[in-house]
Symmetry: C2
Subunit: 395 residues, 2 copies
């Protein structure tokens, strides 16, 4: 775009129209001094939204996706999903045990783990139940309530394969049971092929040790798979010939189909995207220039394309994708939009590197019914009313 056409596209003067007389007169007194560990401005308010349950230690809280920028979620706002609360673990006494179908069982201290060859990678995490309310007629009013069980961090840790090579897998080793040190000893079964591929024992998140809510001091990362398999407060890996069939892989996080049978171990998350601005609860301050933005991700690899519709899905245009587009990470998309003040219906549609295209909600329900609250990845529509209000609609 050359300078002239860019200016024509934005017409900032008309949209903004400030005058020099409005310049701020900030105070000139000295500000506060240096600090050891910084905090947000008192004018910045977004927090995680908590789903209250009868047992506050078992619940979830969601990331304010409409208030975050870029692809890295602030650790303090990373979504939570706990089954027995957040344990307070001293890393000096924490141990990881690797046993089962292995030649040389190991117990590792955190100091020992920190001495091993490591890597850092940016990956999204998403709860298998994220946007589960979209299956229902009544859905979450905001993008935080409906889509906020998804976040993205720069994780640091040890490739799990290194340690599995070290302990030596015995013949028949096919699964690995990961167990957390929370009070319920949460367990999930992971196919050994994933453990030998890109799984990681993560101790770092966004440059510092894992936050307690994210598994401090150690969590299992199985990139691109549903969040529940990223076992937090990791204390044990039991190598087995079959899965344990735990609660969270049978009655939970499975998909009950219309014929009464259930899909289980549907672990990789399918391609998904959502517009975060404008989204439910926003009010546009009149016609004019805005930036539509949102997030896309896929458990199958890189996001290749995100299209945006302004007319409820009749026509689509390509959004601009921020670089770098990383495998199994959030990708931020953006599109300038000059709102004419009339009703509109905005949505995004993601295509990943496997060629998979995000389906409509109707297609998803046609294929899977509505028995299950998990693994919803349909196209998400937001309705803009002429008064500027934005609401969550299905069609």
């Amino acid at each position: 775009m050359d300078k002239t056409s860019r200016r024509q596209a934005l017409r900032l003067g008309a949209a903004l129209g400030g005058s020099l007389g409005a310049a701020a007169q900030e105070p000139r007194s000295l500000g506060r001094p240096l600090s050891a560990y910084g905090e947000r401005s008192r004018f910045v308010k977004p927090v995680r939204a908590t789903r209250v349950t009868k047992t506050p230690e078992a619940g979830s809280s969601s990331t304010p996706l409409a208030d975050t920028f870029g692809i890295v979620t602030p650790s303090a706002l990373h979504y939570e999903r706990h089954h027995a609360g957040v344990p307070d673990i001293d890393p000096a006494t924490h141990r990881l045990t690797i046993h089962g179908l292995v030649e040389r069982p190991l117990v590792l201290t955190m100091d020992e783990i920190r001495r091993l060859p490591s890597a850092s990678r940016i990956h999204f995490l998403e709860c298998g139940g994220n946007s589960g309310s979209e299956w229902a007629a009544e859905n979450g009013p905001t993008v935080q309530r409906s889509y906020g069980l998804a976040s993205c961090s720069d994780w640091t840790g040890v490739p799990l394969r290194l340690l599995l090579d070290e302990v030596g897998l015995k013949p028949g080793a096919a699964w690995l049971i990961a167990e957390g040190a929370d009070a319920c000893r949460m367990q999930r079964s992971v196919p050994i092929v994933k453990a030998l591929d890109d799984a990681m024992l993560a101790y770092g998140q966004n440059g510092e040790p894992l936050r307690p809510e994210q598994g401090f001091p150690l969590r299992l990362l199985t990139p691109g798979w549903e969040g529940n398999v990223q076992v937090k407060w990791l204390r044990r890996l039991d190598v087995t010939d079959q899965p344990y069939m735990t609660r969270d892989e049978t009655s939970k996080y499975s998909d009950l189909m219309p014929d009464g049978k259930a899909r289980i171990f549907t672990l990789p998350l399918e391609a998904k995207s959502v517009v975060t601005f404008p989204s439910g609860g926003h009010t546009l301050a009149g016609a004019g220039l805005y930036e539509i933005t949102g997030l896309a991700w896929s458990g199958r690899g890189r996001v290749e394309r995100v299209e945006v519709t302004l007319d409820g899905g009749r026509t689509w245009v390509d959004a601009k994708l921020d670089e770098p587009r990383l495998r199994l990470a959030f990708t931020r998309f953006r599109m300038p939009w000059r709102w004419d003040g009339r009703a509109a219906a905005i949505a995004s549609r993601c295509t990943d590197e496997s060629g998979y295209v995000q389906p409509t909600r109707a297609e998803l329900i046609e294929a899977r019914g509505t028995n299950s609250g998990y693994h919803f990845n349909g196209i998400k529509l937001w309705k803009i009313s002429p008064d500027g209000s934005v609401t969550n609609v299905h069609a």
Copy 2:
């Protein structure tokens, strides 16, 4: 590396040797419930190190580089350098004025800026005075004290070029004076060519609004250039035909050469790297396997190569570089190392995409003398003693 050679390289069993009897018995009581805005574990202690001055509002604090992971610095630990303290700015009343040699002067509110087309990019920031103590005979004991005025964030904001196109540059426009809203109204002169290239008006950092210490609600980013030019609490851009020749671009942040003349406007930072583990103040717990790691960056583009020496610079081997390697961003390097318990001298050497190779300290002093405390980018040596202690040495 195949499985066998990897195992031979690591010999984890010998290095670790845990027994199953040592497995932790973590308590099984319920943990704490969900939280609105997360905090670190009480077992995680690293903080910024503050240089105390007579005026606490004018000083710096440094990032604990030996305690950070990956390439993104936690915002709470991003280095600080203030000249009049951290102002407490209400974004609702903050304004940015663009005036001078422009056709259509503008005053913008933060709401207006947030509606413009934006982008997110990961960039390092480094104070022009970082590692200045390395010019002297007495240097900082730790990597935090000597190299901690460097950090890296995911920044979000508006390309400055969009707004300069909008206001329309008049003939003769060659510089842009950026002014902060801190009490001293800190000013720096920026060549217009940089403003039209990759400069950004940043309002986001690591997924949330800028931290107050980093310029909330708005800062100028001139990626790859010395930190002082990334004017914080940005309130004014004055387009001019020449620089203001402010204090911070004449008596400060300039390089007094041996012949008594000074290099000024030495804005792009040259390629640099430093080993963060092991580094000054660490004590190795005996011979065995460790991971050498550190950070490399260049104000000229991408880091292409980092070599590590274990013998004080006689021989060098290539370290592994984390992906993605981004332009004008930290690059993390790593190398497994089996310490034999004998004295060693460890350093890293960075080559950037321009082909520039990080010089030795002696070469730097030969070229520039020691009159100035700015822009040191020499190779940094850490000495390992047989007792495992690590100290900062020049040769």
